[in-house]
């Protein structure tokens, strides 16, 4: 196996391990939009593990920036156009993840791992509209 495939597979394996650990410890699905979304309407007794998981994510980002800075894009100044695009995209991702009951992790990893038809449909759908969006932006507009 040559090197360009090792990191994606290793990264994926760690995500699979993370999801398994959360299921074993808390009986929870490691879907980021679900973990974080429920913090916006917090239910007593169902907050601590979410904050801790989020804290782990943010700590992980810090560690990565230190040990594997190539994993992040080189810093660029944002102009108004780029910032508006990112803001609009963020709204769509946030809104869509709640309406669609999941994101890349919840549907794409955890849902498909248990063979959920809903998750397979959702994953194929967001892959398709993602591909279509990139196609329109890069090759048509």
């Amino acid at each position: 196996m040559s090197s360009p495939f090792v990191l994606p597979l290793l990264g994926g394996a760690l995500i699979g391990l993370s999801a398994s650990l959360l299921l074993l410890a808390h009986g929870r699905v490691a879907g980021i939009s679900g973990v974080v979304g429920a913090l916006l309407g917090p239910v007593r007794g169902d907050v601590a593990w979410r904050i801790l998981f989020l804290g782990g994510l943010l700590t992980g980002g810090l560690l990565l920036a230190w040990l594997h800075p190539g994993g992040f894009p080189a810093p660029v100044a944002l102009d108004v156009g780029r910032a508006s695009l990112l803001g609009g995209a963020g709204l769509l991702v946030g809104f869509g993840s709640q309406l669609g009951s999941g994101c890349t992790s919840g549907h794409g990893v955890c849902g498909i791992s248990r063979g959920s038809v809903r998750s397979i449909v959702a994953t194929l759908t967001f892959m398709a509209t993602g591909v279509l969006t990139v196609f329109l932006v890069r090759h048509v507009l």
Partner: protein, 151 residues
């Protein structure tokens, strides 16, 4: 205490996996979605690798009576593919294709100092809040008999 450690460690592993796998670089994500261009399929290996590890471990874990620090394992009562599921996923994909960020990588990127993530994440949280608000008010209407008669 130990339960806290598990949730923290789970988040940490998740972030490291995203970063090593390439998901925190929006350029790589867009190259993965650009099937008509210079297609880079490698991010499919991240999802594949995650499923290859989680699917069998999940089966082993579910042999237990209950999780270590909770009463029950999750149940998934909803089986039907509703319009909201497909519509939500479709909007999600459009945003993903515009920015190259999905929720996990965007949150992980906050502490890397990526300016794009600091614009994307507040907007994402706002979008989540709006969707939750809409679905909560719908649920109230559905439970209100006077509304049900009118509908």
């Amino acid at each position: 205490m130990r339960s806290s450690l598990c949730a923290l460690l789970s988040g940490l592993l998740f972030a490291i996996g995203l970063g090593l796998g390439g998901m925190t670089d929006p350029a790589k994500v867009l190259a993965f979605l650009d099937v008509a261009g210079d297609w880079d399929f490698r991010l499919a290996l991240v999802m594949g690798g995650a499923i290859a590890v989680h699917a069998p471990l999940r089966r082993l874990i579910l042999r237990r009576e209950q999780p270590l620090f909770a009463a029950t394992f999750p149940s998934f009562p909803r089986q039907r593919v509703e319009a909201g599921l497909v519509g939500g996923a479709a909007l999600f994909g459009v945003g993903w294709g515009l920015a190259g960020y999905c929720p996990g990588p965007a949150l992980t990127s906050l502490t890397s100092g990526a300016a794009a993530a600091w614009v994307f994440v507040p907007a994402m949280l706002a979008g989540m809040a709006v969707a939750r608000r809409v679905s909560a008010s719908r649920r109230v209407k559905a439970e209100d008999p006077s509304e049900a008669v009118r509908a």
